[in-house]
């Protein structure tokens, strides 16, 4: 599998929130279906990464994605999950440019600043835009293990349907104990979510440390 991009990170979190399926469908292209955790409730993934080594050097990134089923029939490896990123933001304009070109992620045009504050029982990510708060997300740990996850990312380039394989490796913890939280502030980056029916607490919290995110070549399908 040809590698297109490799990013080493110090911290990476992904918190899963329930969102209305109607809202999820509104952001998904017609060929993708949201996974429902229960009737009419789909999954919003809010992820934040503190990259300490990449082609553009260290930077931070925040991503909103809808969780979708991975396509298992046509691929040689089974992915654990699929995701469709519908809005991203970074602290680096260059990182934004490269990922938009390579992966067609839809980026917020202004740079953001994300602080990762780690304590023994949680990591808190405070995201700002021009000094104004955008997002305050906390994720908590359960037991840690070293693991690799294979995921599928889905993107659109105009009318072209694309997908990529994505490996994330590192120290990892996940649980559904509902100890995390998220606060969204009015901002162009979050306004769409503020209008939607999104749960204020994550039903699943993922936390990676000291890992690597590897993107493989995009394929049209």
């Amino acid at each position: 599998m040809p590698v297109v991009g490799s990013y080493r990170f110090q911290t990476g979190v992904s918190a899963f929130f329930e969102m209305a399926t109607a809202d999820a469908r509104a952001v998904l292209p017609s060929h993708l279906e949201p996974i429902e955790v229960r009737h009419e409730r789909s999954v919003l993934s809010v992820s934040a990464f503190l990259f300490d080594d990449s082609v553009v050097g260290p930077y931070t990134e925040v991503m909103f994605a809808v969780i979708v089923p991975p396509s298992v029939a046509a691929w040689g490896e089974h992915a654990k999950a699929g995701l469709y990123p519908f809005l991203c933001a970074t602290s680096s304009a260059e990182a934004r440019r490269i990922k938009a070109e390579r992966f067609h992620f839809p980026y917020h045009e202004q740079s953001i600043d994300a602080q990762f504050i780690e304590t023994a029982d949680r990591v808190r990510i405070r995201v700002f835009g021009a000094g104004a708060p955008i997002l305050d997300l906390s994720v908590t740990p359960e037991s840690w293990e070293t693991t690799t996850h294979l995921l599928q990312g889905f993107m659109m380039n105009g009318d072209e349907r694309l997908r990529t394989m994505l490996h994330i490796s590192g120290d990892y913890t996940v649980h559904e104990n509902e100890r995390g939280d998220m606060k969204l502030f009015p901002h162009p980056f979050t306004n769409a979510l503020l209008r939607q029916d999104v749960s204020p607490y994550p039903f699943r919290e993922h936390w990676f440390k000291n890992g690597t995110e590897v993107f493989h070549k995009l394929e049209a399908f």
Binding site: P69, K80, S143, E145, T147
Partner: protein
């Protein structure tokens, strides 16, 4: 690529139970213990949708996965019993082909031990002689016998309601009641841990569906707020994976505030909770404040079927609009005959309920003494918390082979890292059953660092 390499996760090296359970260090673990296949990190949710236009596109990938996980643990489901679901059972080990005999049974719902009582079996035999095996028709056509009619009245009388309706299963009772009553444009709000039959009823009704946080009246209040139109709130009497009960008085207050009707599914609580066995609503003193009472006959009565009770007007309406009843064959009269006898025993032998609660208290004591974590259960459903999705089947296999029949439950039936064994206590369990079962479970859990003592 080998089959194993298709699954990308690396099996975990260590495990951790939730506090205050002691955590094993790596060097304390038995190095010879078999590792968990990487495929076990995957589950049914990975095979729900698939690419391609062929409706069979997912069959081959699923079969590939299943061929690895079935012998690694999933075989523990659908193990065939070779005996009645009593407190001791003979079960076929489909992995080895052996019949494992005289296992202590904590897997069956037979909470009052009624399914195999001689009086029940005699009633069944008598009905079989008269009616044969099946009802041979929908209840509205030819499927209703005099047994059905009498039983329906007896259920209503027992529950203290004007009327009742009997369904072929508990599943169809929920689906038929919810979809029979609610329509597109209405709102249904259910507890987030509501049973699949409740959720499926909500889907079939086409009403707007919301879920409130488990047992949280404040969240129910938020979910009902601002909706103008018909509203139905649905809770359960005992939640089947955690064994806890709802705070009904608080929930009723919220329902009244918003003009919502309240339905309770007492599948696991009817016939065992409350002074006369009506259920959790009776036990909490709010029976009359709940609009729709629903339940099953497969748990405490040890038979099969479901029911809904309430006002005569409600039941008359549902008789016409519950499609899952209307378009199903009626319960077999043989089953109904057994249920009638079981219901009679529930009323004539209240000491069975006393015995059940003594057994529940005894088992909680035995588990606590051995440091077995069993959650927040306040009922005869006791979750043995393992919290290790990868190894629960391995632990379950050891418990099974050491003489206890108990069901493992893992994601997606419960949350990630909330794996557990679901223990069902019966009034029929003897002290020896309880002690032997608790000791066997504790002995295995100790090996895995899940017991404190």
């Amino acid at each position: 690529m080998s089959d194993m390499n298709k699954y990308s996760s690396i099996p975990r090296a260590t495990t951790e139970a939730s506090a205050p359970v002691r955590r094993l260090e790596v060097d304390e673990l038995d190095a010879s213990r078999p590792t968990v296949p990487a495929a076990m990190e995957y589950d049914y949710t990975n095979f729900y949708f698939g690419a391609g236009d062929d409706a069979f596109a997912l069959l081959a990938p699923f079969d590939d996965w299943w061929s690895q996980v079935q012998p690694a643990g999933y075989y523990l489901y659908e193990l065939p019993l070779h005996s009645a679901p009593g407190t001791r059972v003979d079960v076929k080990d489909t992995k080895t082909g052996e019949i494992r005999r005289n296992l202590v049974n904590f897997a069956s719902y037979n909470y009052l031990g009624l399914s195999y009582r001689p009086e029940v079996k005699a009633a069944i035999k008598e009905a079989a002689d008269i009616y044969g095996g099946g009802s041979s028709g929908s209840p509205i056509l030819s499927g209703t016998t005099e047994l059905h009619r009498a039983f329906t009245e007896e259920v209503a009388a027992f529950k203290g309601k004007e009327a009742s309706l009997v369904f072929p299963t508990g599943y169809s009772a929920n689906v038929g009641t919810i979809a029979g009553l609610m329509r597109s444009g209405d709102l249904i709000v259910a507890d987030q841990f509501a049973h699949a039959s409740i959720v499926d009823g909500m889907i079939l009704s086409k009403a707007k569906s919301r879920f409130f946080r488990h047992n949280r009246a404040d969240d129910l209040d938020r979910k009902l707020a601002g909706f103008a139109g018909k509203k139905l709130v649905i809770v359960e009497g005992v939640y089947s994976m955690d064994g806890d009960v709802p705070p009904l008085a608080e929930l009723i207050e919220v329902c009244k505030k918003h003009g919502a009707r309240l339905m309770i599914d007492e599948a696991h609580s009817a016939f065992v909770f409350g002074p006369s066995g009506k259920g959790v609503a009776e036990a909490q003193g709010v029976d009359e404040e709940i609009d729709i009472h629903l339940g099953t006959f497969s748990k405490s009565l040890g038979g099969q079927g479901g029911y809904v009770t309430g006002s005569r007007k409600l039941i008359n309406y549902l008789r016409g609009f519950s499609r899952s009843r209307f378009f199903s064959c009626a319960l077999s009269p043989v089953v109904v005959a057994g249920l009638r006898k079981s219901l009679e025993l529930v009323q004539s032998e209240p000491h069975l309920r006393d015995k059940l609660w003594r057994n529940v208290a005894r088992m909680q004591q035995l588990l606590a003494e051995r440091g077995v974590p069993f959650g927040e259960s306040t009922s005869q459903v006791i979750p043995i918390m393992i919290r290790d999705d990868a190894r629960i089947f391995m632990i379950g296999e050891e418990i099974f082979r050491d003489g206890v029949f108990i069901n493992p439950v893992r994601y997606p039936a419960v949350g990630k890292h909330k794996s557990r064994f679901r223990m069902s206590i019966s009034a029929a369990h003897t002290d020896q059953d309880l002690e032997e079962g608790a000791e066997t479970i504790a002995r295995v859990l100790r090996k895995y660092g899940i017991c404190q003592s």
